[in-house]
Symmetry: C2
Amino acid sequence: MFTKNKEESISGLGEVALIAKIRHWLGAISPNSPQGMGDDCAVVDRPKGLKQILTTDSLSYDQHFDGSISAHDAGAKLIKRNLSDIAAMGGRPGEALLNLLCGSDLRTDWLAAFFEGISHACREYELPIVGGDTSTLPNGQFTAVLSLTGYLTKPPLLRKDAQAGDTLYVTGTLGGSLLKKHHNFEPRLNEGQWLAQSMACSALMDITDGLAKDLGEIIPDECVAYLELSKIPLSDAAHQCAKASGRPAMEHAFCDGEDYELLLAVKKETQLEVFERQWRQKFPGTPLSQIGQLRKGQSKVPYIDSKTQEALPWIKGFEHLINQ
Amino acid sequence: MFTKNKEESISGLGEVALIAKIRHWLGAISPNSPQGMGDDCAVVDRPKGLKQILTTDSLSYDQHFDGSISAHDAGAKLIKRNLSDIAAMGGRPGEALLNLLCGSDLRTDWLAAFFEGISHACREYELPIVGGDTSTLPNGQFTAVLSLTGYLTKPPLLRKDAQAGDTLYVTGTLGGSLLKKHHNFEPRLNEGQWLAQSMACSALMDITDGLAKDLGEIIPDECVAYLELSKIPLSDAAHQCAKASGRPAMEHAFCDGEDYELLLAVKKETQLEVFERQWRQKFPGTPLSQIGQLRKGQSKVPYIDSKTQEALPWIKGFEHLINQ
């Protein structure tokens, strides 16, 4: 079942191709987004017009965290990264199911602190954990999987409904999350819910794999994104990382993963000044940056520097499963 | 975070104690059954009287399957063992979320066959997979986690509502599942739904950790189970295992895990002959065995041989996380 021959293993595929294959293998039992895969959550119709959303995500030792963050912060991160997917639909959290998979050599006091972090985050966001399961992995292994229900009170904000002419925004600042933010962030639940009820937004997602990769998700067919690089909100951490890596801070903002910020398109008929003023009043602590616009056009690289009119070099974010 | 000192690790706890600790650590954010942990599914009230059920379970290489079963059967097993939890509430399946966690050295053709098994089982039980996630584990590792929604059209059949005087039944035959049945079983969905609408049943669960362990779950406080050993439906595989192990076939029926049969208590006011006749008409292919009765009483070992009036020696089923 395992092989050292890369051609025969999934290591040769990369995450995007692997997911495409899985969709193909599943066939008709895997409905398309919004009812199925392809967005931050699936949207399922329930009786009496209730729209439920469903999502799942995992947190593995050595993959999503290492010994440099505390057990408490790792536990809180598991909850918050899943809530970020609920936020990215403009939804509200419902209930959680938790799977714990670990080696039996896991320290009990470490696990207690991990659950303290879970419990703390769940209280903060009013998320009950209603079920779960434990199972054994080989020594030295730890993975936790969270599955979440949530619900919508407004039509869902999908990735795929943006149009040419819409304006692109991001919340917060981008890049260098590995220094701290990847476990020290707030899921943008209130912001997402406000966007859902404002009706100004045509598309919404959270930035988890880096702007470079995620932006491609909301660009419609036969459109390109014209970006004003001077407006991209570089984080202090992006600048710090740039000093260490020798690469531009802008590249860190585009290509580092785990920002957990919102990326949104605002409908072209919206009065942007009014929209931005309302945002500032409602969320004075959450920066909102207008980073560019969607326009008709075709380009091999769909991100254009609106100043130079040249294609941007950053098109890949963080991909799992590559060349390990 | 890991330790070789058993006293400091979860290996010293065993699964039951670990889950008790997790409940303690989670505190108020973990509601009690039926709204939370403690039964085969959590039961969550939705608007307009809809009762949703939620459950999750995993399947790990070297833990729940090995190289002796095909990738196709492993995939089908993941679906069916989760559906068995839906059956154990008398519920109907809704949608599934799938997490795939594996080493990047996993063979692509093995994974394709695994998804063929998933897809086949999902078509058979009309279960759409609406979302999921992939993540990397170290080479040689494979775990899949499935989370399920379902719903009830009748009041849920819980583990905890049995009373003294109720009669105990099991479906199918027990023991020796490791030879084949652990991946070659049908979740008892139709049987569970029929039991829910029959109103004869006071408690229901599926037998996954062995009758010895699971029976304890449905015995009320200050009750014991009087069992007629001659009525325990020993599988052919239990007899085969007994020959190989030198232990009694009855011990295999009690202590082997993964039977995926239903264990139920039938209310004392029920006309058992009528109930059993209806069952045989409805499910001619599914044996139903009356194995004993719940009676008032206290005993250190709550399982009594009704012939000898002596305590039975088998009280432990399959426990994860012990002494590995």
